[in-house]
C-alpha cells in the first residue's frame, strides 16, 4: 500500500472501474487515479410490486446487491421500508435506473439521480480542490481509502497554485468574425491568427501540451470557440488535447430556454472537459459579480464540480448542499417529489399566501435618514426558528411559536444552512478588520458574495414545487416571521422616536432630526435585535435620500426606486435608469456622473447645491449638443433588451423584435431569453441591430429619441432637488450637421460593459461603511462567530 497527499481537481464516472479522480500531487504532478465506487439507490412501492422488481433485477445482466432496508423519508412520520439496489459502479447504476424508471414508472425512486460528486462528498467529505490523503492498493493501483484533510467551512485553507490558460478572441463573435485568438498564461501571451487554421491548430496543440493547464478560461468558449476548434479538428484531422483524460470524449450539454420567476432565461450550450476545467466567462452565472474566487468558493461549499458550479444557478447549489446533508443523515432524496400542498381553508390561504412586507415609501427628498438591514434575514429565520419541511407540517400559528419556539432537533434545512451562515458572518467580521487594500480583501468579498447568492435562493427553494425538500407551508412560515420581525422593528423605531420612511422586506429607513452619528442608532439596533431575535446591522447613514414616485403618476409612491448619498459620499441606487440593462451607456454614464457630483454635497439646501445643479444642467446641454454633432460613439448608444418570446410569438413588433428579425434574416437566430442589441434609427423600421455586418450610418441615428431618453434620466435625478422638470428645446428631425466618419466595432466592448457601472453600491471610496455596527440577538451560536 502506498500513501499520497494532494488536492482533488476533478471527479467523474469512469467506465467499468468506478470513478476517476484527478489529483494535483504535492510534487506538482497532475495524475489520475481510479476508485471502485458502488452506487445504491432505493425503490418504494407496495410489497408485491417490490417483489416483482426484485425478481426482474435478479435476471438483469448487471450484477446488483438487493436488500430491504428501513429509511427516513422526510415527508413521512415513520421510517419506510424500501428495496435498496446497489450497482457496482455509477455507469451501470445510471443505465439500470433508466431502464427501471421506464419499465416500472409507478414505483417511487430515491437517491436515483444524484451527482456522483455529491455521493463522494457525503461519504468522504471531499469537494473540489480539497486536500486529501489517499491510499492505493499495490496490486490494482486503485484507491482503497481516502480522507479529506480540509473542511469547506475552513476559513484558512490554502489553494494550490493552479495553471490557468485564458483564451479570448479579439472580437465579440456575436458581432463580427474574430481575426485572432489571444492566449495568455502567467508565463506568456500568444496571438494566433484565425486566418490560417493549420498553424493555429498546431500552435494551440503545442501550447496545450506544453502548459498543460488546469483551467481553460475562455471568452465565448461554449458558444463559439470550442465548437469552432472541434470543427477544425474534423476538417484538418489535428486532434487537440482539450481533455486531460485522453480516454474521455468532450461532454456537451445542449442550450435551452426556460421560464423562471416570470422571466425567460436562456442558457447557452456547455462543453465540459475531463481532467481539467473549461469555464466560459460569458456563460458562467454571476461571473461578473464574484469571478473565479466566487466559483471556487461555491464549489467548496456545494461539493459540485467546478465546471458545473460555474454554470448552474445558486438554487442548484443550495439543492446540492441539501442532498449532501440528506445522504449523510440517511434521509431519502426523492427522484420526483410526490408531495402536494395540504388543503387550506380560504381564510388560512388569505392569511398565509403573502410575501415579504413591502411599504410605499414617503416620496421626496429626505435628510437625517439611516438604513437598517437584517443580516441574511430569511436564512437567519430558518435557522433561528428551525424551519424545515419536516418541522413545519401545516399552517403556522406564529404567536404560539414565537412565545415558545418548539424544542425539536434542527431540521434538514437549518442543518444545511447553519455552517454557511456562520461562515458568512465570520467572513463579514474578518472584513471589518481589513483595509480594502489588504491582499486578502477582494477574495473574502468574492466569497461573501457567493454565499449571499446561495442564501438568497435557499428561501425560494423552500417554496419551489419541484425542489426535493420544498414545502410551501415552510416557505410561508418564513415570510410570516419576516413580516412579524419587520413590524416589530418598525414599532421599536417608533417607540424610540424615529419616523419610519420605508420598509422593504429585510431593510428599513428611519429618520430622526439630527440623528447623524452611528451612536445615535445603537440603542435602536440593540432594541430591534432583542425584540426579533434576529441579527441586524446599520447599513449606513445618508446625507440625503430621494424616494421616487411612479413614472406613470407622480402621486403614487413605488417601493424600489430611490437613490441616496451616504455620509462617505458613496451612493445607493435602485430602480432608476442607470441600473437598467436597456439604458444606453451614454445615458447611464451621465446619470452616474450627475449622482456622483451631487453625492459630494452634504446639505441639499446649501448654495453649493444650487451651483452644482446649474452646472449639471449646463453639462447636460453640452452632452446633448455633442450628440447632435455626432461626437458620441455609436457603441455608447446601444440598447440591450432581452427577447421574451420567439419572433413569431410577438403580437406587436417591439423595437427588440424588429432588431431580432433583422438578425434572423441574415441567419443569426436568437432564442427567447437571449439579448438583442440595437440602435434607434430614423425612418423604418426605426432600429438597426448592432450585430448586423453593415456599419451604423451615423446621420440616420434617431438623435431626438436619445436626447429625450437622456432628459428623462436627468430629470429622474434632478426633480427631487428642484421640484420642476428640466427641458431643452429639441428640434424634431436631425440638425443638418456633418458627421465624422466612425466605423462600428472600434471600441473594445469589454470596457463598455455596464456591469461595472451597476454595482450594488457605487464606489464607496473608503472603508468606513464596513465599520458600522451590527447587533446580534441573545443567540449563543451567532455570538460565537
Amino acid at each position: 500500500m502506498s500513501k499520497y497527499t494532494g488536492w482533488l481537481l476533478d471527479l467523474y464516472p469512469a467506465a467499468s472501474t468506478g470513478i476517476a479522480l484527478w489529483f494535483l500531487l504535492e510534487n506538482g504532478a497532475r495524475q489520475r487515479f481510479m476508485q471502485p465506487f458502488a452506487v445504491t439507490f432505493h425503490a418504494f412501492a407496495p410489497q408485491p410490486q417490490l417483489r416483482m422488481l426484485w425478481n426482474y433485477l435478479q435476471k438483469q445482466p448487471i450484477p446488483v446487491k438487493l436488500a430491504y432496508t428501513q429509511k427516513t423519508e422526510l415527508f413521512e412520520d415513520k421510517p419506510i421500508t424500501v428495496l435498496s439496489i446497489t450497482a457496482p459502479d455509477p455507469y451501470s447504476q445510471d443505465k439500470l435506473f433508466r431502464r427501471l424508471s421506464f419499465k416500472f414508472p409507478e414505483i417511487t425512486y430515491y437517491d436515483a439521480d444524484l451527482h456522483i460528486a455529491l455521493r463522494h462528498a457525503a461519504l468522504f467529505g471531499t469537494f473540489p480542490l480539497c486536500r486529501c490523503e489517499f491510499t492505493l492498493d499495490n496490486n490494482t493501483g486503485q484507491i482503497i481509502q481516502i480522507t479529506s484533510l480540509d473542511s469547506p467551512w475552513n476559513l484558512q485553507s490554502i489553494r494550490p497554485p493552479l495553471r490557468i490558460m485564458q483564451i479570448e478572441p479579439d472580437e465579440d463573435p456575436r458581432h463580427s468574425q474574430p481575426g485572432a485568438l489571444k492566449i495568455s498564461t502567467e508565463k506568456d501571451t500568444h496571438l494566433l491568427s484565425l486566418r490560417y487554421p493549420r498553424p493555429l491548430m498546431l500552435n494551440l496543440k503545442a501550447l496545450l501540451q506544453r502548459y498543460d493547464p488546469d483551467l481553460l478560461l475562455t471568452a465565448w468558449g461554449d458558444r463559439w470557440l470550442l465548437p469552432y476548434l472541434l470543427e477544425l479538428t474534423e476538417n484538418l484531422n489535428i486532434r487537440l488535447p482539450l481533455n486531460r483524460d485522453s480516454e474521455c470524449e468532450l461532454s456537451w450539454r445542449p442550450e435551452r430556454s426556460y421560464f423562471s420567476y416570470g422571466q425567460v432565461i436562456h442558457r447557452d450550450q456547455q462543453i465540459h472537459l475531463a481532467g481539467r476545467w473549461h469555464i466560459d466567462i460569458h456563460n458562467a452565472m454571476l461571473y461578473h459579480d464574484y469571478k473565479m474566487e466566487g466559483i471556487y468558493e461555491l464549489s467548496r461549499v456545494t461539493s459540485l464540480p467546478l465546471q458545473t458550479t460555474a454554470r448552474v444557478s445558486p438554487g442548484s447549489g443550495i439543492s446540492a448542499m441539501q442532498m449532501v446533508t440528506a445522504l449523510r443523515q440517511d434521509i431519502l432524496v426523492p427522484w420526483h417529489k410526490q408531495q402536494v400542498e395540504a388543503p387550506k381553508t380560504a381564510w388560512e390561504l388569505l392569511l398565509s399566501d403573502q410575501g415579504g412586507l413591502v411599504y410605499q415609501p414617503v416620496t421626496g427628498l429626505h435628510r437625517h435618514v439611516a438604513e437598517l438591514d437584517f443580516i441574511s434575514m430569511y436564512p437567519s429565520i430558518m435557522v433561528h426558528y428551525n424551519i424545515s419541511p419536516e418541522t413545519i407540517r401545516g399552517p403556522v400559528n406564529l404567536n404560539e411559536r414565537l412565545a415558545a419556539p418548539p424544542d425539536k432537533p434542527p431540521g434538514l434545512i437549518p442543518q444545511t444552512l447553519k455552517p454557511l451562515l456562520d461562515k458568512r458572518m465570520a467572513i463579514k467580521h474578518r472584513l471589518l478588520t481589513l483595509q480594502a487594500s489588504d491582499p486578502g480583501y477582494e477574495s473574502l468579498k468574492a466569497k461573501a458574495s457567493a454565499h449571499k447568492w446561495l442564501l438568497v435562493t435557499c428561501f425560494g427553494y423552500l417554496g419551489y414545487k419541484n425542489a426535493r425538500f420544498g414545502r410551501i407551508e415552510a416557505h410561508e412560515a418564513v415570510t410570516a416571521y419576516g413580516r412579524e420581525a419587520l413590524l416589530r422593528a418598525k414599532e421599536a423605531a417608533e417607540d424610540l422616536g424615529f419616523s419610519v420612511l420605508h420598509l422593504y422586506v429585510d431593510g428599513m429607513w428611519v429618520q430622526q432630526e439630527n440623528a447623524d452619528k452611528v451612536s445615535d442608532y445603537e440603542a435602536l439596533l440593540r432594541e430591534i435585535a432583542s425584540r426579533t431575535g434576529l441579527p441586524i446591522s446599520l447599513e449606513g447613514i445618508y446625507n440625503w435620500i430621494a424616494f421616487l414616485p411612479s413614472r406613470q403618476d407622480a402621486r403614487i409612491p413605488v417601493a424600489n426606486r430611490y437613490f441616496g448619498a451616504y455620509q462617505d459620499s458613496s451612493l445607493k441606487v435602485r430602480g432608476i435608469e442607470l441600473r437598467r440593462r436597456d439604458t444606453p451607456l451614454w445615458i447611464a454614464e451621465k446619470q452616474q456622473a450627475i449622482l456622483q457630483q451631487l453625492a459630494r454635497i452634504k446639505d441639499p439646501e446649501s448654495e453649493m447645491m444650487s451651483n452644482t445643479l446649474s452646472k449639471i444642467k449646463n453639462d447636460v446641454r453640452k452632452s446633448i449638443a455633442g450628440l447632435t454633432m455626432g461626437h458620441i460613439a455609436p457603441e455608447k448608444l446601444i440598447i440591450t433588451q432581452k427577447l421574451s418570446r420567439t419572433l413569431e410569438e410577438y403580437r406587436s413588433s417591439s423595437p427588440a423584435a424588429r432588431a431580432a428579425s433583422q438578425l434572423a434574416e441574415i441567419g443569426k437566430v436568437l432564442r427567447p431569453g437571449q439579448m438583442v442589441r440595437f440602435i434607434y434609427m430614423l425612418g423604418s423600421p426605426g432600429v438597426q441591430a448592432w450585430d448586423l455586418p453593415q456599419p451604423i450610418q451615423l446621420d440616420k441615428i434617431d438623435i431626438d429619441r436619445y436626447a429625450r431618453l437622456m432628459l428623462r434620466a436627468v430629470n429622474t435625478i434632478l426633480m427631487p432637488f428642484t421640484g420642476e422638470k428640466f427641458s431643452l428645446n429639441i428640434n424634431s428631425g436631425n440638425p443638418s450637421v456633418s458627421f465624422p466618419i466612425c466605423t462600428t466595432g472600434g471600441l473594445p466592448l469589454l470596457k463598455l460593459m455596464k456591469s461595472n457601472l451597476i454595482s450594488q453600491k457605487i464606489a464607496a471610496p473608503k472603508n468606513e461603511l464596513n465599520l458600522l455596527p451590527a447587533f446580534y440577538p441573545e443567540n449563543k451560536d451567532l455570538q460565537q462567530v
Binding site: S260, Y261, G262, W347, L349, L350, L351, D353, Q354, G355, L357, V358, Y359, Q360, G460, G463, Y464, K465, R483, L487, L503, D553, R555, I556, P557
Partner: protein, 85 residues
C-alpha cells in the same frame, strides 16, 4: 412557483376598475376628486396586504378616510395657528 391569490395591487386595480362606469358618469372635476381618493388608498397597500381582510374594499375605504382625516388635522392646525397670530 407563484402565488395563488392575486396580489394586493391586483386586487386594488380590480376594485378601482369596478367603479369605472360610476367614474365615467361623474363630472370631470368630480372624477379628479375620486382619483385622489384612490391614490390615497394606494398609499396604504402594504398595510392592506398585511391585514389580509376578506373584503379588501373596506380596508381601502378606511385608508381613504385615513388620508382625509390626516388632511383635516393638517388644515385644522393651520387655522389654529392663524387664529393665534
Amino acid at each position: 412557483m407563484g402565488r395563488t391569490l392575486a396580489s394586493i395591487t391586483q386586487v386594488f386595480l380590480q376594485e378601482q376598475e369596478a367603479f369605472s362606469r360610476f367614474r365615467r358618469a361623474l363630472r370631470r372635476s368630480d372624477q379628479e376628486a375620486m382619483d385622489d381618493l384612490f391614490i390615497a388608498a394606494r398609499k396604504h397597500l402594504s398595510a392592506a396586504a398585511y391585514a389580509a381582510h376578506a373584503l379588501p374594499f373596506e380596508v381601502f375605504l378606511l385608508a381613504m378616510l385615513l388620508e382625509e382625516h390626516k388632511e383635516v388635522i393638517r388644515l385644522r392646525k393651520i387655522i389654529e395657528e392663524k387664529q393665534d397670530e
